[in-house]
Symmetry: C2
Subunit: 240 residues, 2 copies
């Protein structure tokens, strides 16, 4: 592990790292499913919806499709997940409403306290594939104390495309090694490291529920490894 | 004056509307001038630096030059203002340091309290020509409670180009008439109104010092007119 000398900004993966998307989406779709598909488990549906996430962004990362914001992809992916489970006859208004599930996710219990400690010493911002309005809604509801909303929409590209990381550092007016990517996902950190950013792995072993098999531990010797945001704040020299 | 029904987000001009750039820049350049040009008044130098602001952006608005962030223009304009006053022999490091004057400006006395009231009811964000890092530094120092940093750098264009306003509304996921532009400048509001945004004029009669002649009053019947941010918050139905 290296020291934190020189780090000026921390940028955060959000879905899974800052907020618990699976419980939040399940909670939001539950009343809808009770009406339309009472046999279907809400967490299973959340997983099905999320399974479309990476393939839908891959269309854009590959250049086959121009950038559209994540709200658009989430809505298309919702339609696919509904079709997959044989649920039809859902109105456009209902789809729009369900799609907001991603705007109202709860942070992990340590997230706010950790972010408030980190904010006193560093610039803190999401570097998420979520679009700006989604991040604003989430932050206002949950009191996430971001200094700015950075990420995919600002640079019009999706992680792990390298320019998401490099252009974000440039926007921050910092050399990449003064920016630290914080994520619960080894793949995100590998891409950030490839662009010269510092890296911090925070364990989120229940992101995918009790049967999670991925990202249970650090796959590389990341610059910082922590069990939660409070431990990360301590490692980065932030007062309690 | 119209009602505020339907407005979901307030976007703010910053230099002159939220912060007092003239006093702040004068304060920052004062020690430098005492050393290099003791006969020169710091406020006069601030005015000279600011005079280059609009022409420098016009190069980009006109399409003659690709977008560069305001920090870059400010630095070039500083070099021009120094040359204009016959000041030379300034090192690159000194120029970089002076250029940060625009990052550390003080808010007008009513700004923070008004923004905190407005934030409880609306999304609030700067819609400034200042770049993201500049806005972050200013907000962290002065505790400006923005929900996001929007503006020129996010859309890579300068006000009053129409797409700064229209693309900002789009990023917010709102029709233009659910977004209200707040500014002390009639020109900014006219451009915003031309794009369908609501408009709020806040008087800042000392932005240019005691001899100010421009923007002393509302040039059109803007949707809201207020003497300061607290009065604006009251007009917009925000609790104290």
């Amino acid at each position: 592990m290296t020291g934190h000398a020189g780090i000026k900004a921390l940028v955060f993966d959000v879905f899974g790292t800052v907020v618990d998307w699976r419980s939040g989406v399940a909670r939001a779709v539950e009343p809808f499913l009770q009406h339309h598909a009472p046999q279907l488990d809400a967490h299973e549906f959340a997983d099905a919806w999320r399974r479309e996430y990476s393939p839908s962004m891959e269309e854009i990362r590959s250049g086959r499709r121009p950038y559209v914001r994540l709200d658009v992809l989430h809505r298309e992916n919702l339609v696919k997940a509904l079709a997959h489970h044989g649920i039809d006859g859902v109105s456009a208004d209902e789809l729009d409403e369900l799609n907001l599930a991603w705007h109202w996710l709860d942070p992990w219990p340590d997230a706010i306290e950790g972010l408030l400690r980190l904010k006193r010493r560093f610039i803190i911002a999401p570097l998420s594939n979520g679009n700006i309005r989604l991040m604003i809604d989430m932050a206002k509801r949950a009191a996430l104390p971001w200094d700015a909303i950075l990420g995919a929409e600002v640079v019009r590209a999706y992680k792990p495309s390298p320019r998401v990381y490099t252009e974000t550092a440039e926007i921050l007016g910092l050399p990449p090694d003064q920016v630290c990517m914080v994520a619960a996902h080894n793949g995100d950190l590998a891409a950030a490291r490839g662009c010269g950013l510092k890296t911090a792995f925070v364990k989120r072993p229940n992101e995918h529920g009790p049967a999670q098999t991925t990202d249970l531990s650090a796959a590389q010797q990341w610059d910082f490894i922590a069990d939660d945001f409070n431990e990360l704040a301590t490692r980065l020299g932030c007062a309690v």
